[in-house]
């Protein structure tokens, strides 16, 4: 049952998200009938399932809320922005209820009550009173005469009259007298029709209601009479055989005859008054319209997905080894077969990866709501445009992207877009525009967040950075370097610290969050016109396009996304671990990895230097040789290497050996902080 609860909670979360989306688009066009249908349907589903799983507060709440939208679609209530606001607030409340079902604090309760009061104002809710069934007390045994004459068409409704008879007799003790008086001649007989009828004499403890219940589904399909005899009857074998015999001569016997037979044993017979007629209700409802959403997907546990990915990765690795061996043998037929296998494996891997990919639009949805609420709060008019929402990303990347992106969006609204007045003054439309675009570029996914706000004032940044001693007065910074100061911890140009974006804590956390998923962020801006944040992310974290290099006796992988350019450098230029060098007319620091890692120093004739970017500036990493490009399946190093953050993992090469994969950001951080230096110095000191 635990598992079912989980499913319900997940489902409810999705429903609420769907509801929110529908409400937001409804808000744009209050005449959209399809939207109302959609809203109503979601509320209805939520109402039903919440009741099933014991979420009574949710059930009660959606019950009332549903009335509004029922009223709207029946055109009895007119949709207004006020109602929309109320509904959105209600969705927030529902989210609270679903996420914290155990929180039945007074705050939650009064919130519910407050919202409900508001809701009821709109629906003039006639309290729907439902008839609570009153169960009569059981008494001693009673005797009933029951006539059950099903309509001809009863079988068409899937009813099996036998079951009804069985159930009746199960109530106590009784006898069934079937009548075949309605059966037509053979030529008129149709097998779909039912021609029998029954009389039942039943002695039972049950009351009339319970008997009626057995007929609950067939009330309209049969002629049913229930008659309770007032006298006690002992339905013994004598009576039964007498009833049977009489029935042979005349069927149906009819209540009078049966009464006669039964009451012979009892001289003080009195017929009870009236028959019990199962009641008929009759009201036509309108059929619900059909929805247009097709869902043909299945839920898969992410553990299973991980398992599958692991297995496929191993398949790829083993395949690589097989290839190597087959190449060595030179057997043509074997080569052909393995080539075929390669194709299949590659295709399989492609499919497996795409299974783990999720479209971005889910993330985009969250922002729609945020922007709406925030812009209202700040009294700014903002239009939010999304495109490329079907672009897919690995789920684990998507999960980690949401916070950083959220923060950037907040920042746009808070600092980027100006107030309506300010915009008018600068000749812009009062409505600000924020756009979020996602697209594929090579093996990356790019997400661009643009606004047409006030842009970034480079001067202000420089001033602030000077003030906070982040830079020196005479430093000549490129535009990029200036913008990157925004990401520096402890930086903020907002004159007041708003609690919406917080202090400069936000931007640097956002950047780190993006880097954690091996992504990069780049800012572009024009003062007065707007700003854009360009985030590029790898498609997946577990397969990396890398550059295979060797340092000392070991081979390493450098993720290609960090490789900008490669140079050759004669050994004499790299005498120190940490050497400023000029390449391509640009000055950069080059780190001698061989030295840093403490490998024996041989006088290398030529070093290969790989240029990469670190916090906006160029850095060079000198390795012994560059072997070539290599696609690797990333495997974790394990917790025992937790301190070795400069490696994001390791991979198995085609020849079976293990190559470590660099996390370039962390590696360069360690290099620049001089940590390797310290470790080496300690070692050298010992050796003296």
């Amino acid at each position: 049952m635990e598992n079912l609860h989980q499913i319900f909670i997940q489902e409810a979360a999705e429903l609420l998200s769907e509801l929110e989306d529908a409400l937001l688009s409804f808000e744009d066009d209050l005449t959209d009938e399809d939207a109302v249908q959609g809203i109503f349907r979601v509320m209805h589903t939520l109402k039903g399932s919440s009741a099933m799983f014991g979420y009574s507060m949710v059930n009660d709440f959606t019950h009332e809320l549903e009335f509004i939208y029922d009223g709207i679609r029946e055109k009895k209530i007119i949709a207004t922005h006020e109602i929309l606001d109320l509904t959105l607030k209600s969705v927030d409340h529902l989210k609270q209820l679903i996420n914290n079902p155990l929180n039945t604090s007074n705050e939650v309760k009064s919130n519910q009550k407050g919202l409900l009061d508001e809701i009821k104002k709109h629906t003039n809710s006639n309290a729907n009173t439902f008839k609570k069934e009153v169960v009569e007390a059981h008494e001693d045994e009673k005797c009933y005469y029951i006539r059950f004459a099903p309509n001809k068409t009863i079988l068409k409704h899937g009813t099996n009259p036998n079951y009804i008879l069985e159930d009746l007799i199960d109530l106590g003790n009784g006898i069934i007298l079937p009548s075949i008086d309605r059966i037509p001649i053979l030529s008129e007989l149709t097998y779909q029709d039912f021609y029998m009828s029954f009389e039942i004499v039943l002695v039972t403890h049950s009351n009339v209601k319970e008997i009626e219940e057995i007929f609950m589904f067939v009330e309209d399909d049969a002629n049913i009479q229930i008659h309770q005899f007032e006298f006690d009857i002992n339905l013994n074998t004598d009576l039964i055989s007498e009833l049977r015999e009489s029935a042979i001569e005349q069927r149906p016997l009819g209540i009078d005859n049966i009464t006669k037979i039964l009451s012979i044993k009892d001289q003080d017979s009195r017929l009870s008054s009236g028959f019990f007629d199962p009641q008929n209700k009759g009201q036509n409802g309108t059929p619900s319209k059909s929805e247009d959403k097709q869902t043909d997907s299945i839920r898969v546990s992410s553990l299973k997905l991980d398992e599958m990915m692991n297995q496929i990765s191993e398949l790829v690795t083993t395949q690589a080894r097989l290839n190597m061996l087959v190449n060595d043998t030179g057997d043509n037929e074997l080569s052909a077969i393995t080539e075929g296998m390669n194709k299949i494996t590659r295709a399989l891997r492609g499919t497996a990866f795409s299974i783990c990919l999720i479209p971005i639009d889910n993330l985009m949805l969250r922002f729609k709501r945020l922007i709406r609420d925030l812009s209202k709060e700040l009294d700014k008019d903002i239009e939010f445009i999304t495109s490329g929402t079907e672009t897919e990303l690995d789920k684990s990347i998507l999960d980690k992207l949401s916070d950083p992106l959220l923060h950037l969006v907040r920042n746009c609204i808070d600092h980027g877009i100006e107030t309506k007045d300010q915009r008018l003054k600068s000749g812009k439309a009062t409505k600000g525009k924020i756009s979020l675009e996602a697209y594929n570029s090579g093996t990356n996914v790019v997400i661009e967040l643009k606004d047409d706000g006030r842009g970034i004032d480079k001067e202000k940044i420089i001033q602030k950075a000077l003030k906070n001693k982040l830079i020196k007065a005479d430093e000549n910074l490129t535009e990029n370097e200036i913008y990157n100061l925004l990401f520096h911890p402890g930086f903020s140009t907002a004159s007041t610290v708003t609690d919406i974006s917080g202090r400069g804590v936000g931007m640097d956390v956002a950047k780190r969050g993006i880097e954690d998923i091996q992504g990069a962020i780049r800012i572009e801006s024009t003062l007065g016109k707007g700003t854009s944040f360009k985030i590029s992310l790898p498609l997946t974290l577990s397969i990396i396009d890398g550059l295979l290099v060797s340092v000392g006796n070991e081979t390493f992988i450098l993720p290609l996304q960090h490789v900008e350019k490669c140079y050759e450098l004669p050994g004499e230029f790299l005498l120190n671990t940490n050497q400023p060098v000029v390449l391509d007319d640009k000055r950069m620091t080059v780190f001698n990895l061989r030295e840093a890692f403490g490998y024996k120093q041989t006088q290398q004739k030529l070093y290969q230097v790989i240029k990469t970017k670190f916090e906006g500036s160029d850095i060079g990493l000198a390795v012994d040789t560059i072997i070539g490009e290599h696609q690797v399946v990333l495997k974790p190093l394990g917790t025992m290497y937790n301190d070795q953050q400069e490696y994001s993992g390791a991979t198995i090469l085609g020849n079976g050996s293990v190559a470590l994969v660099f996390d370039v950001n962390k590696l360069v951080t360690k290099l620049t902080s001089g940590e390797y230096q310290k470790l080496n110095e300690r070692k050298y000191a010992k050796q003296k």
Partner: protein, 119 residues
């Protein structure tokens, strides 16, 4: 004994499935009316339980369509309704439904009603 449950709420499908399976029924699940019909075409069911509100084809239309097919005559169809839709019962009956179950229902009740119409 095969039972087909059609409901757009996954949690309800799972709950009904679990309840019936533990009583020995084989349960097939459909998320909407179209899927339900497809499943019925492919495989016979001894009983059908469907929600009134389904995407793509509502419950009552589903019942009508099932009843149109002579090969499916006599299969009991139960509708899941909420208390406020009590008036829909009439319509459902006219369409050919066998009976109904009111939401929310206890698992015990579901089993009893199912047993009432199919054995």
């Amino acid at each position: 004994m095969k039972v087909l449950i059609a409901d757009d709420s996954e949690s309800i499908r799972e709950l009904v499935g679990m309840t019936l399976e533990s009583a020995g029924y084989e349960v097939k699940k459909a998320a909407d009316g179209v899927e339900a019909l497809n499943m019925l075409r492919a495989e016979k069911a001894n009983q059908i339980i469907t929600d009134l509100n389904l995407p793509n084809m509502d419950g009552i239309t589903l019942v009508k369509k099932i009843r149109l097919d002579p090969s499916k005559a006599g299969i009991p169809i139960l509708l899941l309704t909420t208390e406020s839709q009590v008036d829909k019962k009439e319509e459902a009956k006219k369409a050919g439904a066998t009976g109904w179950i009111v939401k929310p229902f206890a698992q015990e009740k579901l089993l009893n009603i199912v047993k009432r119409v199919v054995r």
